[in-house]
Symmetry: C2
Subunit: 715 residues, 2 copies
């Protein structure tokens, strides 16, 4: 109940701040006209995207209903609809805040920052708030009006189905939005900058509105759906794991299952407080520093508040939970030493320390990402320097950095896993993941700020505002590149922890559904290796599809723009207006067509693998290979996603660093090479890389649903 | 004994064919002068490289001697020295055959092909022959004059040490040679083609000799050491696994341990026969087709010959081997179902079918690699087409292809693992890997042909031969790009199988050395996940270091060439000669300096991981994490290596495809973009990608040696 109230608080904050943002001045008529075109394009895209997803969603909902019952179908629908709503509202705020940020930047950097960040914060709070509400209300309805036991199959399956709904929408939104935004961006750059020789964001380029629409549907709506999904899956998985592993808890079961929700609620409060700390220091222009102040305050305040809600839920923080006082816990759970119960006893304090590890890990990942993508450090500067010797060396150095950038986050994640496991075993890892995700409100706020400033710069350029305005929006936007990379690193890092929790849920489910099937998950079983290899292949294949899709759609954009220049020769001397809507429409159709097949890959792969291996080598090896697939996809996907997102961000900021006047500045040979690197990094960081995160989760959730469906069929 | 004779046969073939090659005309004086410079540079590099490796080698040999005894130290030295010899001789033939191929190409395509391919075949037969001799003679000495039991610890440890010696040299040679060749290549291109506007292989470019030297020390000497290592490790691991798992065989033990050697010997015979089938069909110019004829004949002839040697060794092909008639086999071995013995009984026929799977898998991988890197298929053409819209889209499409190219080989490897396992369990996988490697003689022949033709083209250009000669060498060279990619795909594919064998050896060793430590290799153990993640990280970090090293060394080349142009302004009008040796010397120093740290990564990582995890979570988890690291490095490395080698080959041939007159041909914008892609692909395919293969093996072997050392310390 407290969690529901806190979730509502986030929504109220969202509504309240929306009024503030929408109340700000929207600039002159020309600016409003441009912003109107962006709004229209973004809405047209999202409407068509959600219609397409809706059709897939109805089919899947019916399938879920048939195989797993109507409660699960409802869960699926709730997850799917709210994920869509989060993206939709976020996009709506974003397309209205962009022009207002451009207008506010006329008054000063602080004004622009405040407006753009508030817009981001609305999306952030709505994502976290709606996600929390979705789980909390659904859980409450299941156990109170419907009077199911908290650890009954109905509740567990319904929570998993809820997560599935969120994930399925999220992968479509991430991928469709990602293809849209980068096809438009790459296409516009190729035909505008390279062929026609007109600057970025020039109103004569017919693809320029599509490019700005892309920022909103990809970086804002897609990202919001992604983080909504990550939140729901992580918190939901922690609750499911509690129900599965700690079923002998008695009276403590309900508070233990509600505790992740309470942590989420507590961090919403601290995130809201944190948003008010995002202010430039007097007379300074360190935008990233302002962001850090907000994040730091949120993280620090979260520590005592998490302690407080734990105390509230558990009563005695030093009492032992789990361990030998529990009955049916050892089945399927990891065995530290054979014969002893896996769920070694842990205390409230252990859970608390594990949660703190999650908070620290979030901070560490943010810091590492800034190192790899910020203009002040070695990696970005080395790419900028390599641009001096040409396109080839720029790309080589960028690829080297993108490979290298996986090392520190992996070490941090490994340290987090070991630390949390030492405190409270698997539950410790689950709590570290939960507290990481609890900060999602603040992290999304940092990210959603990006497309607003990016658009603001575009509007300033197109509306012919004073150069000083564009300078300010550029300063805001450079930070946006880093915060966008940060969010992706954070999402994939949390996925690393969440995947372990989901795998534990898979093994626990397996033990419950198929107690007679003795599954050997040992690395000595070749079918485990087969599963690991095929799992690791998925992100590669998925990345290849995403990159190819962007290339193909960008090619369509180039052709359309060329055709427009030919049909309307007056465009170049401003005597004719390009048909922006036509390009938007074209990219829309292309993106939606291209998103279908790759999105189905992680849905179908686990099902196909299970049936093929079962046919060849029996059900116990089918389950083993399927389980290994789940871990293979995270082992492979973590590196693909980290390298793509950090590498892409580094390429982008290397270009910005050169544009700031280093290595020859704008127009130099080094700059041209850096533009190539940026183009390469675009689909890396905004299409293929970030979509790996929902892909990992989908694979895991489909496996859980497959188990439930098989058990239902067997029963 | 038979194996020793057949090994000697390969060496005799090598010597005999060398005479043929060296007896061919060496061209005019100018050609000989250029070839002399290349020979001198290559020798200077290899001498310095082997000196450096020698110092490291002596230190390691002493360490091996102290921890594992003098027999192992001798094994290490034999492996190391013969690996070096294989590389050295291969390089020597290559630098002499290049000029002769250029001379022969003056007479016709067939003449050029014959000479270049014979040169490749010498290296191929020497690699396979020396590798076979190294194991066979050492094994024979151990069990006959020294009278050790075939499955005694002394023999097993000594064989592992032999493999370690080969691997350690191989990683240095692969990486050092790879850095040398690509630093010279990229550096020469950047400063020559881009800055000075002179064509490739122009004698005015001071880096041009270094570039040609690089082909020999990287693609020939480095590759030879790599395949020598792969051969020794795979065959050795199969023998070790036989000794560990089938210790209860009695009289059959010795023939079973010698059988992998016999298979190797049999395939040397078929490889020699196959080399004579490499001929152009009358009036045709399909060079790849000629190669296929030779390979196909070898593979087809190998089937009955393998059957014959199996019959010879085992007597009754239908008699059961392994299974319940064996005593101490279940410890540490994979359990298909708990409680039953892992080594299910298998027959000689099962081993035969598994071997055939290895042969088929080799063919399939070659076919897939040709699809992804040949100019006649979609992948290369899609990159060429994407070049029309600029540098950025070329690189994007190349990266997409490189990601995609991992899918089919992985599926083929997975199918091979499942098939071989179904026939004869782990021993089936070991035999599939052995028969794959048995074809190494032929595969190396195809590969070593590449640098010869590449050099021949360079010499033709520099010596100002008729354009028709260059045309012929270009036709030969385009196939060389594909065969080089094929060898790398083959090496890494076989590494996928060999890694499973090595992991099985690890678990079997563990069970023997530490019977009281109960190691949980289940995916449910978080330390297994930690090991998998860190293992998968190694190829990324290693790749990053390799790419950065190439960038840095290429930068040095650029500076040196610029300095030479400045000091000797007469170079451009041919009135002064550039100082080729100075550039060679500079690249030599840079490559040797840069190879050290990345090469030590896979040696130290397993040791550090074991001690850190043991300190945190006890020895059983230290062993579990270490085992998982071994599989993590193959799961991560397989994809990194496959994507880099196939992607790089595709980029290279996309450039060649455009140079053949497509998409605007030489000098067009598309060509410029394709040159960028080729530059990016260079360190991908020739430095970072191929070095992953020895890296995987080193990590595994170090783990085996660590176990032996720990056991020795404990005893």
């Amino acid at each position: 109940m407290i969690a529901i109230i806190l979730g509502l608080l986030a929504v109220v904050y969202g509504i309240f701040t929306s009024r503030q943002v929408l109340g700000a001045g929207a600039g002159n008529e020309k600016m409003q006209e441009i912003a109107g075109a962006i709004q229209e394009g973004a809405k047209a895209y999202l409407n068509r995207q959600y219609t397409t997803i809706g059709i897939v969603g109805v089919v899947v909902a019916v399938l879920v209903g048939v195989f797993l019952g109507w409660l699960s179908a409802i869960g699926f629908v709730i997850g799917a609809v709210l994920s869509g709503v989060a993206g939709y509202i976020g996009m709506n705020i974003s397309v209205k805040a962009n022009v207002r940020t451009a207008a506010a930047a006329q008054s000063g950097l602080q004004q622009g920052l405040t407006l753009a960040f508030r817009a981001g914060a609305i999306t952030g709070m709505l994502v976290a708030g709606l996600a929390l509400l979705a789980i909390a209300v659904f859980f409450w309805v299941l156990i109170n009006p419907l009077a199911h036991e908290p650890n009954s199959r109905e509740v567990i399956d319904a929570l998993v189905a809820l997560a599935f709904g969120a994930s399925l929408i999220s992968i479509f939104a991430r991928l469709g939005g990602g293809i849209f935004t980068k096809a438009a961006d790459v296409g516009a750059d190729l035909v505008g900058k390279v062929e026609a020789g007109i600057p970025e964001d020039d109103p004569r380029n017919p693809a320029v509105i599509a490019d700005n629409v892309g920022d909103n549907v990809g970086d804002c709506a897609g990202m919001a759906a992604d983080l909504f999904e990550t939140y729901v899956v992580t918190v939901g998985a922690t609750m499911v794991l509690t129900a599965l592993l700690l079923s002998g808890l008695g009276e403590l079961l309900l508070p233990m299952m509600a505790l992740p929700l309470l942590i989420g609620g507590a961090c919403i409060v601290t995130s809201i407080i944190g948003t008010y700390a995002v202010k430039l220091s007097k007379g300074k222009t360190n935008v990233m520093g302002a962001m850090y102040k907000g994040f730091g305050l949120t993280a620090v305040l979260s520590v005592p508040l998490i302690w407080f809600v734990m105390q509230l839920a558990l009563g005695d923080m030093s009492a032992e939970i789990g361990g030998s006082n529990l009955g049916a816990v050892d089945a399927g759970a990891p065995l530290a030493e054979e014969g002893t119960s896996s769920i070694a006893p842990f205390t409230g304090w252990d859970l608390f320390y594990s949660s703190v590890i999650g908070l620290v890990l979030t901070g560490v990942i943010i810091w590492i990402t800034e190192y790899y993508t910020g203009t002040g450090f070695r990696p970005v500067r080395s790419i900028a320097k390599a641009s001096e010797t040409g396109h080839g060396t720029n790309v080589i150095q960028g690829l080297a950095i993108s490979l290298e950038s996986t090392a520190l986050p992996t070490l941090a994640i490994v340290a987090g896993i070991i630390g949390a496991y030492q405190f409270a075993g698997l539950m410790g890892i689950a709590y570290a993941a939960t507290s990481m995700l609890a900060l999602a409100g603040m992290v999304v706020a940092l990210d959603a700020y990006g497309p607003v400033t990016d658009n603001a710069g575009g509007i300033a350029e197109m509306a012919g505002l004073d150069d000083s305005v564009r300078e300010k929006t550029d300063m805001l936007d450079a930070v946006g590149n880093t915060t966008k990379a940060v969010t992706k690193g954070y999402a994939i890092g949390s996925a690393g922890l969440a995947a372990l929790v989901l795998f534990a849920a898979y093994t626990a489910d397996l033990a419950e559904f198929f107690p007679d099937v003795d599954v050997d998950f040992s690395l000595e079983n070749p079918y485990v290796i087969v599963g690991l290899l095929l799992g690791a292949l998925l992100p590669y294949l998925f990345g290849a599809m995403g990159m190819t899709a962007v290339g193909r759609a960008a090619g369509d954009v180039v052709k359309d723009v060329r055709a427009q220049f030919k049909e309307k020769p007056g465009i170049m001397d401003y005597s004719e207006k390009p048909d922006y809507a036509r390009t938007v429409d074209l990219v829309t159709k292309a993106a939606i067509k291209e998103m279908i097949v790759p999105s189905l890959l992680p849905v179908l792969a686990p099902i196909v693998l299970y049936f093929v291996i079962t046919a060849i080598a029996g059900q116990q090896n089918g389950f083993a290979a399927l389980g290994a697939l789940l871990l293979g996809v995270i082992v492979g996907g973590l590196f693909v996603a980290l390298s793509m997102t950090a590498g892409g961000g580094a390429w982008d900021n290397a270009k910005k660093y050169i544009e700031d006047g280093n290595h020859g500045g704008k127009g130099s040979e080094a700059h041209k090479a850096a533009v190539t690197g940026d183009t390469v990094g675009d689909p890396y960081k905004d299409t293929a890389g970030p979509a790996v995160n929902p892909m990992i989760k989908i694979t895991n959730i489909v496996a859980l649903l497959l188990l439930a469906a098989l058990a239902g069929g067997a029963a």
